[in-house]
Symmetry: C2
Subunit: 234 residues, 2 copies
Amino acid sequence: MYLANPTQQTAVTTADKVFEQMQHAIVEGEITSGSKISEPELAKRYQISRSTLREALNRLEKCHLIERKANVGSRVVDCTIEGLLELYITREALEGMACRQAALNMSDEEIVDMQAMLKAHSQTQELKDGVAYYQEEGDLDFHYKVILGSHNKQLIDLICGQLYHLVRMYRCQFGMNSPRASRAFNEHSQIIQAICDRDGELAEILMRRHIAASRKNIENKIAEQNLTELINRK
Amino acid sequence: MYLANPTQQTAVTTADKVFEQMQHAIVEGEITSGSKISEPELAKRYQISRSTLREALNRLEKCHLIERKANVGSRVVDCTIEGLLELYITREALEGMACRQAALNMSDEEIVDMQAMLKAHSQTQELKDGVAYYQEEGDLDFHYKVILGSHNKQLIDLICGQLYHLVRMYRCQFGMNSPRASRAFNEHSQIIQAICDRDGELAEILMRRHIAASRKNIENKIAEQNLTELINRK
DNA sequence: TTTAGGCTTATTGTCGACAATTTCTTTTTA
DNA sequence: TAAAAAGAAATTGTCGACAATAAGCCTAAA
């Protein structure tokens, strides 16, 4: 069920395949966050020429996983707290709107499908209670469905094609197995209900709250951590 | 004052320069919207090798001005009504949030600067009343300032680095010299006031209304046009 | 000892050629 | 005549080599 690539564009060219491998490697942290990328080295590792490697790098840059400077080279983006919070702000705006559009544009079948997914998730969650991993994938599945449901190519491309690789990267690197699992679950059902009622305004508000809550959760953790650090220094 | 490239990253490499030239050519319609791109032909026209042309194409793809399919080639995006409306929806979400963040994060100097700009625009508008061109540039200037004022790299990159080239393209291709000039002007001052008051919530609402109003204005025009077409057919 | 300047090395940008794939044309067959 | 298959032409993807730029190192002067 879980899709790392919801837009479903299969890789045909070798640059595509290397792109997917590197994307995976960066998200999982195998290629260290913040590290410099050596074109000759990576070309050797993947057994390809520098040209096709550069093609792959271009796509990685497109989804904000690396940054390039002319005549200097590429670096893997480094995961910072500020970057994470900025990402949440952006998601709040985009996914909020996507959710509003989903309430207006989703077909009845899509809604039924989404409800079924939620039910399936609820059962696996009951079985594996406390195991956050499945909930994480379920969370992504849910968000993907809503975004695709907006039927807005621009939004879909921006969120699924670009931002979500970064989201997954942060989740992996910061080891975010959110303890908000059960709360998030209730929020998901509320959102689906609003979509089902075709209430775009409410759907947007709920989605924004849902994402803002995650952000605040993190902000609190940071504040907490800074506090204990302060105490330990004394 | 007016900036086509608000992020100010000067082109150093030849691929950069060709990218800027082609970007201009596409936005202005010199390279026809929807047309297929021939790599050999363009490489010859710009006197560069196919490799560096492809580098330029990659950047054009990054700001959604062209679309590529593996083993098939690139096309300039074609400007459709649906695409334009989707763009407005996306802008409403992103710029609304950027405006909220600007109210929270802009420095006092930035705000003063923005107020000065508005005043300057108001004077040129009084002088050249009815001439929409200056207002158009002024409109972009205003929006750029707000977006940069959000101090959110993610938002800035998405809007200024990607969406706004498309916005300018649509404006050129559809010849949108908005008759909303004077109304838009008042809306701009309201927004600046909200930012000045550090009222993020209101600032977002006003910006969203401002953009939504433009969208509805277009939707009405379309509906009107369809109506007259229907009548003429009889 | 530190800083400035020039040299060496390594990395990125650009080029032209070949391979793989698609598309168009022509030929064959029902 | 129409449809399908085979062949030809053109286009895109990939490769290795060279040129231009940046980074590191070493020497020399203050």
